[in-house]
């Protein structure tokens, strides 16, 4: 189900259109990375989809309702946001900041119920910031602050979570742990997670789908399909890929890949991403026939649906 989508969207600000004819779609339970060269309009698209900027054409639908007919509070119960802007209140205690996430659910005074307290604590546990709860914002590192901001968004308990460059300014371990947390939120809790990033390699490994914002407009698809079709390299105007390392995770099954060349590499990655094992002795075989993928009796136009199938969706 599409939780957040745009229909024939034109984006930009102050009446100046950046790009138009966009039809982005974000489903429950998937992690989507928004990629694109600098200046392509990633932040503008994100803010338009989050309702912070009005679309210059077309419309944004949040859980089937038109964005600009929703009140700020109704919107805040469906979509939470993490922006690149840093809060300017160094004396703000971490726990109080996370508690702000409960605002769309509390009354006029903002008094917290026991259920609210529970949600705040759970959000801090999931984002791994429970041990920072007594600190002030001025005492946090960039990585800690980013996790606190994510905890605040989690406390908002929304089905959609949108993040603008959540890994900027973080070192590699923090980038990895932040992205791992976001993928977990999508897979384990069925949230729709959208994030814009410059981390191409990480996005290719972790995203269920990519949104590629470039000169060709917005292209959507599984990372492997966009890489194979060359869309990725066209969008960035340069070769951008690196090899994939195997992940150690429980195998959903095993199969053999009988494909040659670049297609083999991306098929391997897709299979690994679905948590399947590649085994040359396996009886189940993945082939390419007339431009389509064939697994046993089933045909797939693209690798994205194949991954969904392997995951048992």
């Amino acid at each position: 189900m599409n939780l957040l989508c745009g229909e024939n969207l034109s984006i930009g600000y102050k009446g100046r259109t950046l790009t138009s004819g966009l039809n982005p779609q974000l489903r429950a339970g998937e992690l989507v990375c928004l990629l694109g060269p600098n200046g392509a309009g990633k932040t503008t698209l994100l803010k338009t989809l989050a309702g912070l900027l009005p679309p210059l054409g077309g419309k944004v639908l949040l859980k089937g309702q038109e964005m600009h007919q929703l009140s700020a509070q109704a919107r805040a119960r469906l979509l939470s946001l993490v922006l690149t802007e840093r809060p300017r209140a160094p004396l703000f205690p971490v726990e109080e900041l996370v508690a702000l996430g409960r605002q769309p659910h509390t009354g006029a005074r903002g008094t917290l119920s026991a259920a609210d307290q529970g949600a705040i604590e759970q959000a801090m546990v999931r984002a791994g910031v429970l041990d920072l709860r007594m600190r002030h914002l001025g005492q946090l590192s960039d990585g800690q602050l980013q996790r606190v901001m994510i905890a605040r968004a989690l406390a908002q308990e929304t089905p959609v979570l949108a993040l603008d460059e959540p890994t900027a300014f973080l070192d590699l371990p923090h980038r990895l742990s932040t992205l791992r947390l976001l993928r977990q939120l999508a897979q384990a809790e069925g949230k729709a997670v959208l994030l814009s990033t410059h981390e191409l390699d990480l996005a290719l490994r972790l995203a269920d789908r990519l949104w590629l914002l470039g000169p060709e407009g917005l292209l959507q698809g599984a990372p492997e399909d966009l890489a194979l079709s060359g869309a990725l390299e066209r969008a960035f105007g340069a070769p951008v890929l690196d090899p994939l390392s195997e992940e150690s995770s429980p195998a959903g099954g095993q199969l053999r890949i009988e494909v040659e060349g670049a297609a083999k590499r991306w098929a391997e990655q897709a299979v690994l991403r679905a948590h399947w094992r590649i085994d040359d002795q396996a009886t189940l075989v993945l082939r390419q026939e007339a431009g389509a993928w064939v697994l046993g009796e089933r045909r797939f136009e693209l690798l994205g649906p194949l991954v969904d199938h392997l995951r048992g969706r």
């Binding site: 803010k47 946001l81 922006l83 802007e85 809060p87 109080e96 702000l100 006029a108």
Partner: protein
């Protein structure tokens, strides 16, 4: 714990009001004070006159003005996300100053002292209101709060420019009258002026006390606030109205007293170690009143019959606070 600290500030307010009523150029004993206050037949007429004509009006003026300026400062600092913003960043004091300057300096000597009373206040309210309306109208069209801040400062610069030209062509006694107004004073208010001041400030304070929840969200910036369910444009409009009315009314009746608005919110943040407006709003009300009352009491120099300018006393307290905050934040 924080509730107790606020209660302590409130108690301090009561003590300072008492001090201001009891000790001045003449000391009045607690018993005499009480009898005069309740209008007992045993009260001395002179005590009643001192209390009702002099000390009670200035104590109430300091109370309302201090609380109003501190809250106006807090609202502006949160709206603009700027620790050095105060109630006067929008140029409201300059607008009021322009109104007063036009009246005092251009009236050809008709109004030459603070005794001008209501006429002076009307001129100040007119000037402050003019700037206020321009700022609120602009706020509807301007996207960023920082742009609004810059426009407010420009309004202030323009008003100050006109005032400078008026002063250049004015007579010495007119200049002195204007200068006296800029010193700030809680002593120029009669019952009528006090009633007008309260009628403007108390509803604006009540409005501010309704807004701690969206103000807390605004600490993360306008976009975050919007993402957490705050109708940002509506909130911005309310904050501008509240802060402008508070600062405008106080400036009209008591002169431009800038330091309370900048210093008190910072003092409260460091004292209470929080950014939560549910704590900061009442804390600012009481600490603002406390500082205004204390400054008025010191300025009155108990035992002597003269009084120092209130702005001089406040600046000597306020400036070190701003130094402290700036130095603490420096890397």
């Amino acid at each position: 714990m924080k509730g107790l600290m606020i209660a302590a500030l409130a108690l301090l307010t009561a003590l300072l009001v008492f001090a201001l009523l009891a000790w001045g150029s003449v000391s009045i004993s607690a018993g005499d004070l009480w009898r005069a206050l309740i209008g007992s037949s045993e009260a001395q007429e002179v005590h009643r006159r001192i209390l009702y004509d002099l000390r009670l009006p200035k104590a109430l003026a300091a109370l309302v003005a201090g609380a109003s300026l501190a809250v106006a400062g807090l609202l502006m600092q949160t709206l603009f996300g700027n620790p050095l913003a105060g109630p006067y960043v929008l140029g409201i004091n300059s607008g009021a100053g322009l109104g007063v300057a036009l009246l005092v300096l251009a009236s050809g000597g008709l109004v030459t002292s603070l005794g001008g009373g209501l006429a002076l206040a009307a001129a100040a309210i007119g000037g402050a209101g003019l700037v206020l309306v321009m700022v609120v109208l602009l706020a509807e069209r301007v996207q960023s709060a920082v742009t609004l801040l810059i426009l407010g400062l420009m309004f202030g610069a323009m008003a100050n420019g006109v005032v400078s030209i008026l002063i250049y062509f004015a007579q010495p006694d007119q200049i002195q009258a204007f200068l006296l107004w800029t010193f700030g004073s809680f002593r120029a208010l009669g019952t009528q002026q006090l009633a007008i001041l309260s009628a403007i400030c108390l509803p604006a304070l009540a409005l501010a006390l309704l807004l701690p929840k969206p103000l807390n969200a605004l600490l993360l910036g306008e976009e975050y606030a919007a993402s957490m369910g705050v109708e940002v444009k509506q909130l911005r409009r309310r904050l501008l109205w509240a802060a402008s009315l508070l600062a405008g009314a106080v400036t009209a009746f008591c002169g431009p007293i800038a330091f309370l608005g900048i210093a008190v919110p910072h003092l409260c943040r460091f004292l209470f170690k929080t950014a939560d407006h549910r704590i900061l709003l009442p804390a600012c009300i009481f600490l603002g009143a406390d500082m205004a009352l204390a400054a008025e009491w010191v300025a009155g120099m108990p035992g002597s019959s003269s009084a120092l300018p209130i702005n001089a006393i406040l600046a000597l307290v306020g400036a070190p606070v701003v130094f402290w905050v700036v130095l603490r934040r420096a890397p």
